[in-house]
Amino acid sequence: MGLTELSILLPVLMVFGPLLLALLVFLAQWQRSADWLGMGLGLILLALLTPFSGAVLLEGPLEMQLGGHDRGLAIPFYVDGLTLAMLWLNTLLFLFIQVYAGAWLQLKQPAPAAEFRPLFLLLWSGLNALFLSGDLFNLYVTLEITTLAAVPLVILSHGHAAMAAAMRYLLFALVGSIIFLLGVALVYAQAGLLSLPLLQEQAEPHPALTVALLAMTAGVAMKAALFPVHAWLPEAHASAPSPASALLSALVAKAAAYLILRLWMGPLEAQWTPAMAQLMGALGAAGIIYASIQALRQTRLKRVIAYSTVAQLGYLLLLIPMASVLAWNGVIYHALTHGLAKAALFLAAGNLIMVLRDDSLRNLAGCDRVLSKNILVIGLAGVAIAGLPPTGGFIAKWWLISAALESGQWWWAVVIGLGGLLAAAYIFRILSYAFFSPDPHQETPIHQAQGQLTRALVWPPVILAFLAIALGMAGGLLAPFLEIAAPVTGAQA
């Protein structure tokens, strides 16, 4: 198989593979075999991504028209360094969460298996399509698919709280969609086209396009739960079933933030002023500080992790004011590390809840002995999120601080430093609860914990946490990939 065939086959397989599987599972109700098929698909995608990434590195960014239409029509795919990074993250996370979710559904009583699997696969397909899309209308459609798969996943927890959280999520997401669509329509009315590469080629400043950019940004920000429209996220991500929480936090919210970066960097670059960029950065910074402080005040494990997501997404916005290769690499690296680490955290939290039946932090006392691997995951993934060496988060932070100093915007360096400290504080707060020695005579559910968790539940978060650490050694290796067609000054074409 030549590289050309591969670069057509892989994107198609990434979008339609999970979609067909979702249909199959929904219609035929093959529960267990669906897990095996899904894992097989994940492995195939992973195997194909390696030569695919090499091909993109050698031949430059990939532009492809599905169905062979002319440019500007139909369904264009666009792959650059950012897309590649997100595709890798997507594939890795869906593979490991698939393994985890299969085991989780077996142990959980009552298990929402029949609903979970099709939604899971639909979300997989939708996210792949979103990252691959190179056209505003397709982006809108894929964004809707992911929302419509993500909201029901929250409801699967059953119960009043989950229902209320899901309704709130749905409300935010639908309003966001409408505002986003408005922006898309404005772009079409003004420019007459929707393809991102074409928009970039004929970029001339126009007030209507600026309004469009702001409308699209506001719409997507509601789905990404960026500060100050984040109110729905902590409750929704905390009350969703744990494997779903991992997907929502690590990928779904991030996909919306990804879209903001796509719009601001490149196609609509001419439509914003430095002051607007500073404002976006300031929103990101406010989110980092505010949500980290909120995370410090929570009494439930999953809510701490969920607030952490709001904070960590704020870092992505810092790319807009800095807009350099260093910031570009730093932000993508941050997204990768956060994705792996956050999924690991939610999966480990799911394990703890499985044993303790409750995720209040007080219950964690003494967990470090019996459930040591899960506590280890919280420690390792938490260190990665706090950006301490030697993790991927550290590399990201290094690049971002360098970018801040390089562009003379030292205030972002201060925000990044402070954000890291706050993250360390909320992570070590969790660990402190776990290290607290409980009264040995008190009966707690921990005593029956031994052997309750299967390997398929324990190992996926451990592996993900180690991957987040391993990213810390791979900065030199991955940087050339991230920089493929980076739409920032100073990058090679």
Partner: protein, 499 residues
């Protein structure tokens, strides 16, 4: 071809030294609690292997061989390990003291829970210290510096009590806060100079940057290292961290955390800024003054502590700043005094902590008042304690005398006579807080309610490490002019800077 590979493997020795305890730590953590015998074996074997490797490296460095390992982490930024004479000072000290502390800790923690976690992080802590010693640039130094913070936290909170957790929180707040400032400083160095590689004589001199910027940079880096070196006002975490088990305190105070901070200050002055630039910025006076304040303040507070471990902790605050003082005074003699104290203070302080642990473990003696007659009940432990305490005061021929002698000579040499006053005051204060302890232990009668009046010293696993370190601190003073003594090695280092 094979010989070439062998040469590469040999040159990468600093990597093996770090890995020897890193892997031991990871294996111990993975094995988990029940594997007691295997754990003891891994601990001792790894410590012995490390001493062997460090010994080979020490010999190589003395012969002028180059040890170097590099791995590119980001474009333009590398993870670099190297071994120079200064590295060997800290790595030899920690290799030797790790073995002794491991033996001590195995005896100390017999039958207590969570030993896998303890020994796992213990090894990681030593791996990080080794990394700090052999880091070849400021970037790599920072990586290990932060790893050290993270690896030490589980040891500080090991007991799992509320007090331990609160102290652990304070420790993290100080060290990570300092770390964040340090990180911004390191990024600035990289951005200004395009490199962070340590070079004898510094590498910022040639850049012709504004003094204001350089001073700011120096203060950022200083704040980061001063937290771990417990320079006043960054010291409050250190006495509070005393809730940790005795072997942890021993390691924290003698080799790992405070030494990493002091070592960082030395690296920044000599290998980043260079002596000349430090002096132009006036930062040498700043260091000397900060160190002097810390020396006096720490000693005064030590006087007021009744708890033995807390008294020792404040003594550490005071004594570690001798290293900074030596660097601040400048000139070859004072620098020798400062550098040699890096080793001497380690040997003496670890002895004191071992002995304090023995007193608490064997007879439950925790305060100075309870020490009455301890010399009769635990003669060997108290003998080691006495040697180390006299050394701390600076009485010849124990090692501490050598450090103070050189510091004094150096201050006269550079015309800074006020430093003599600081040294005299500190010596008097040291005597004031150590001599009453010794008097009480040897000359006061044991409390009458103690039923058993005979000799009952600590178990061999607790006693021997203390005796060995006491002997080493005596030897380092007596044999100071032998080759490979800490003093001679400090002279060897100084030749690099002063020719």
């Amino acid at each position: 071809m094979i010989s070439l590979d062998m040469a590469g493997l040999y040159a990468a020795m600093p990597m093996w030294v770090v890995l020897s305890s890193l892997l031991a730590g990871l294996v111990i953590l993975t094995l988990g609690e029940p594997w007691h015998r295997t754990r003891v074996f891994i601990n001792i074997a790894a410590a012995l292997v490390k001493i062997l490797l460090v010994g080979i490296m020490l010999w190589g460095v003395a012969q002028g061989q180059i040890f170097f390992f590099e791995w590119q982490l980001m474009p333009g930024i590398s993870f670099v390990l190297h071994a120079d004479a200064l590295s060997m000072m800290l790595s030899s000290l920690s290799a030797i003291l790790w073995l002794l502390t491991t033996i001590y800790a195995i005896a100390y923690l017999e039958d207590s829970p969570n030993r896998a976690r303890f020994f796992g992080f213990f090894s990681l802590c030593v791996a990080a210290t080794m990394g700090v010693a052999v880091a070849g640039n400021l970037f790599t130094f920072f990586i290990f510096y932060e790893m050290l913070t993270l690896a030490t936290w589980p040891l500080v909170v090991h007991r799992g009590t509320r007090e331990a957790l609160r102290s652990g929180g304070l420790y993290l707040g100080f060290t990570l806060g300092g770390g964040a400032l340090f990180l911004i400083g390191v990024v600035m160095v990289q951005w200004l100079a395009g490199t962070t590689d340590f070079q004898a004589g510094g590498f910022l001199t040639a850049l012709e940057l504004s003094p204001g910027l350089l001073t700011g940079l120096f203060l950022l880096l200083f704040a980061g290292t001063a937290v771990k070196a417990a320079v006043v006002p960054f010291h409050p975490w250190l006495p509070r961290a005393m809730v940790a088990p005795a072997p942890v305190s021993a390691l924290l105070h003698a080799v790992a955390v405070v030494k990493a901070g002091a070592f960082g200050i030395v690296r920044i002055v000599y290998d980043v800024f260079g002596l000349e630039l430090t002096a132009i910025l006036g930062m040498n006076h700043f260091l000397a003054i900060m160190a002097s304040i810390t020396i006096i303040y720490g000693s005064v507070l030590a006087l007021r502590q009744q708890d033995i471990k807390r008294r020792l902790a404040y003594s550490t605050v005071s004594q570690v700043s001798y290293i900074t003082l030596g660097v601040g005074i400048g000139g070859p003699l004072a620098t020798i005094g400062g550098l040699v104290h890096l080793v001497h203070q380690g040997l003496m302080k670890i002895t004191l902590f071992f002995c304090a642990g023995n007193l608490a473990e064997t007879h439950g003696i925790k305060t100075v008042d309870q020490m009455a007659g301890a010399g009769r009940r635990m003669p060997w432990t108290m003998m080691a304690f006495t040697v180390a305490a006299l050394g701390m005061i600076g009485i010849p021929p124990v090692a501490g005398f050598v450090s103070k002698w050189y510091l004094g000579l150096g201050s006269i040499d550079s015309g800074q006579y006020w430093v003599i006053a600081v040294l005299v005051a500190s010596t008097l204060l040291n005597a004031a807080y150590f001599l009453p302890v010794l008097k009480r232990a040897w000359f006061d009668a044991p409390p009458t309610k103690v039923s058993h009046q005979g000799v009952e010293d600590a178990s061999p696993g607790l006693l021997w490490p203390a005796l060995i370190t006491a002997a080493l601190s005596l030897g380092a003073g007596l044999l100071a002019s032998m080759p490979f003594s800490p003093l001679q090695w400090a002279r060897f280092i100084i030749e690099r800077f002063y020719g």
